[in-house]
Amino acid sequence: MNNKFLLQDLVQSILETNDLDKKEVETFVRAYFAVIERALFEEEYIKINDLGKFSLQKVEARKSVNVTTGEAFEIKAHYKLAFVPDVKLREIANKPFEHLEAVELDAEPELTQDEAINPNKPITKEDNIMEKKEKTVFVVTDKPAANEKKTPPAPPKPKKGKLVAWIVFVVIMCALIIFALYKTLSPDTKVQLPVDDVVTEIEPTTPAVEETSAPAPKVVDPSSWETLKVVRLERGKRLTLLAQEYYGNKVFWVYIYEANKDQIKNPNKILAGTKIRIPKADPAVINAKDPESVRIAQEKETKYRAQFSK
């Protein structure tokens, strides 16, 4: 490993495989590399079986800045040498990692997924905020479990009598056992959820969304709204952009999503070319100038973010 072989060692290694004259082999090896070099400058391209391709590639002139002085200067157009190894050579070199294959990872927690998806899309400040929100949501869902553990031990402190203390102790033990059982059981049930089809995930959660937005008295169902326009989603475009365009605030993408639920399985991943129905805005619900309607939309947004980040 990590030995540096020189031309002499190469000659030696060739000699091991056949019984040729050492001098002949050496002249051959020198000729070999001399010809590669000559061919490069004559034709800018040379292909050798089992080894690879060498070629000269032009690098266009470009502007640069001297790092120390800050002075602008131009890097002149020049050539560079490119080597593309032959498939055979590549396979031999990659032997140690040969057995590894690209693995699809969608059963993993969402945080990494978000990091992976976002680089594809222009990252706006809002996105960063969203991510932060998501993270906090994540933490919050974990906390109740932790609290359950911590709160039960509190009661023993006020000592009213041995009997009471004993009862409390038994109750705590029961609670802990139930909690432990729940914990050991829950991973199985949790594992099943992501495996289920996305559709089944959406169905149970949507009523919950409506309920929580119930503090706002109106029950909103954008799918019944009149259609303002049907848009074909372009590459790189997102619901938030459409919402900005048609309703004047990104937050209202939730209503576009709700109106197109049958089309969109996951608002984070919509196929380009999907036909999106933009519902006509009901000024009572969608009003960029009304902080209340923005707030309601934001609540929905956090819900969906949490839902689809699982």
């Binding site: 061919a39 400058f41 040379i46 560079k80 040498l81 693995v103 991943k269």
Partner: protein, 97 residues
Amino acid sequence: MRNNEFIRAVRLESKLKKEKTVLLMEALSASISKILSEGDSLSIQGFGTFELKKKNERLSVNPSTGKRFMIPPKLLPVFRPGISLKNKVKNFGSDEQ
């Protein structure tokens, strides 16, 4: 330049017989493969260095489906031209004009 032209050019350059040249060609490729597969590097004075480079594993996302893939690490043979060759290549265009 293609492979058969290359073999011919090397034959003329080294003044060896055709059979020997073909034989040596294969032996040389095999030797380079062997050296690289053992994790060693090969430097040819005045030409450059063949060596292995490890590419780390990375995440890749299929932009149309949004599916994420973990691309495994791999070892890639690379060639680093030596200083003299590199400079010749660099000045290649300007000499011509």
